[in-house]
Symmetry: C2
Subunit: 333 residues, 2 copies
Amino acid sequence: MSKIIKIAVDAMGGDNSPKKIIDGINHHYKSNTNTFYQIFGDKEKIQNYINQLPTSSFEIIHTKDLVKGTDSPLEGAKRGKNTSMWLAIQSVKEKKSDIVISAGNTGALLVISKLNLKMIENIDKPALSALWPNKKNMSVVLDLGANIECSPKNLIDFSIMGSSLFKSLYPDDTAKVALLNIGSEEIKGNETIKETYQQLNQRNNTDFEFKGYIEGNQLMNGDVNVIVADGFTGNIALKTAEGTANFITSELKKAMTGNIVGKISSLLNISNLKKFKERLDPRLYNGAIFIGLDSPVIKSHGGTDYIGFSNSLSVCTRIVTGNLIEKIRNNIC
Amino acid sequence: MSKIIKIAVDAMGGDNSPKKIIDGINHHYKSNTNTFYQIFGDKEKIQNYINQLPTSSFEIIHTKDLVKGTDSPLEGAKRGKNTSMWLAIQSVKEKKSDIVISAGNTGALLVISKLNLKMIENIDKPALSALWPNKKNMSVVLDLGANIECSPKNLIDFSIMGSSLFKSLYPDDTAKVALLNIGSEEIKGNETIKETYQQLNQRNNTDFEFKGYIEGNQLMNGDVNVIVADGFTGNIALKTAEGTANFITSELKKAMTGNIVGKISSLLNISNLKKFKERLDPRLYNGAIFIGLDSPVIKSHGGTDYIGFSNSLSVCTRIVTGNLIEKIRNNIC
């Protein structure tokens, strides 16, 4: 039997919690029976939903305290050491769990994680990363907003951490890093990005191939799979992509159902449209990953459903199996 | 009869020139008979295509020199004062034309324009702007890459210029300005953007409503219609939107034609899909506008066809009719 993976789960974050969290756990467990869940939150509420899970596969750590979605990061942290979020993070700090996940307040999760967990040695700043679809497979993109201003050293750290994350998720593929920029020529961009380019070009990158710059319109081609930016730029790119996708699908919906012929032929074409929707289903890419601390911290989207949360749990499984933190440690020095 | 609008046209820039340029002129003239075209380029080639146009509506200024698409901006400028691009710009400089348009080398167009044309008084930097679709109508977005680093003064200038452009294109609508940022709260973002926010909030904006910050995922909602960013951020957003749109439409195409049922029902639904495509047709939004100089300079996309070029000519018409430069002058002081 394979090694047991221990996941600390904040059961109280996000919409429809703890129901969707526990439903997500039930769903995840079906194909991941080597998991032990440490579940933090309101025991009475949690127990209502947990009936499918063998008692040997989980433990509920009861608390009524919780961080609210509307809290500022600092307010969230100030709710104290007995919130479901804080206790879950403490569980990885004390090595009782391998990884921690929450669908709650992102800012509070970052702050409480930074308060409790140590940085990986030689990493200066942790980064928020996520998975994006591309024409071939998936890309890791970071930083998505944890650090507004970044030095070349930070961006190089992000390249290493992003590559390690990619390799722990896709062990058979080669990590290919590019810096998000406004042109593909060496002379384009601001001073930080140009300096980073020079250093990455000279560095002996055994853990990834450095592919130079990438422009926004190439992000989804799949020629590179680790995309590095400062947190301001990365956040703008992520959210613009999200807004564009929403705009296009809503325009498509309007066009497809504008009249009776449209409705009927859309019905006929339903299986193809379903395939299209599945390919773009944001639940597939659900889960931002906070890396740089000595335990991985996973943020599931607050608005996702139990399928989305279950997918985030699968990301947890793959990150632990892929030895993310060890990979970063080996690559950073 | 309405006032004659004089457009200086660089006939030699972009793919398939001068054919697509002249075809575009022919197409534009049909619904804009109050136009006089000063056409710069290889007379012999141009005359092959121009047969539909009354001789009173155009003049060909012959030159064999041209800026190449592969030139660096400086190389383009160094090709001298006899290129079709340089001569076209000189025509607005000497007030022989009201506006200049080229589908050629963007960098060279910016450099040669800056060399020849004066800045509008009290504007420090010119900006590259474009039109984006949104759920309600269209937005003006700037800067798209002319200025990597911007001060609060620059961003305020962009707000004023963008609003003036919006009002000259859509005289009946109210210009609503927002700063592209990574959060909607006042405290988010870098120092420049926060300082700009404060100044715009205190300024007596008679020419537009200031709506605060906008995030990338809200760009296409249509709640604001003038979106302001430094050239690095704006370029990343523009190109990411472009890349996302291409990715989604190619995935959609794959899904819709994956099997015979898909093909048949897509055929049935062809008029709706056509509507969808028209709504997103990049030719509709074709034409970046370089503003801040004392004549407007229009860049049509090098890869567009004659319909796209004709649409850019229509943007020229509306900008001249809307008195863009005068609007900026009135609003800047």
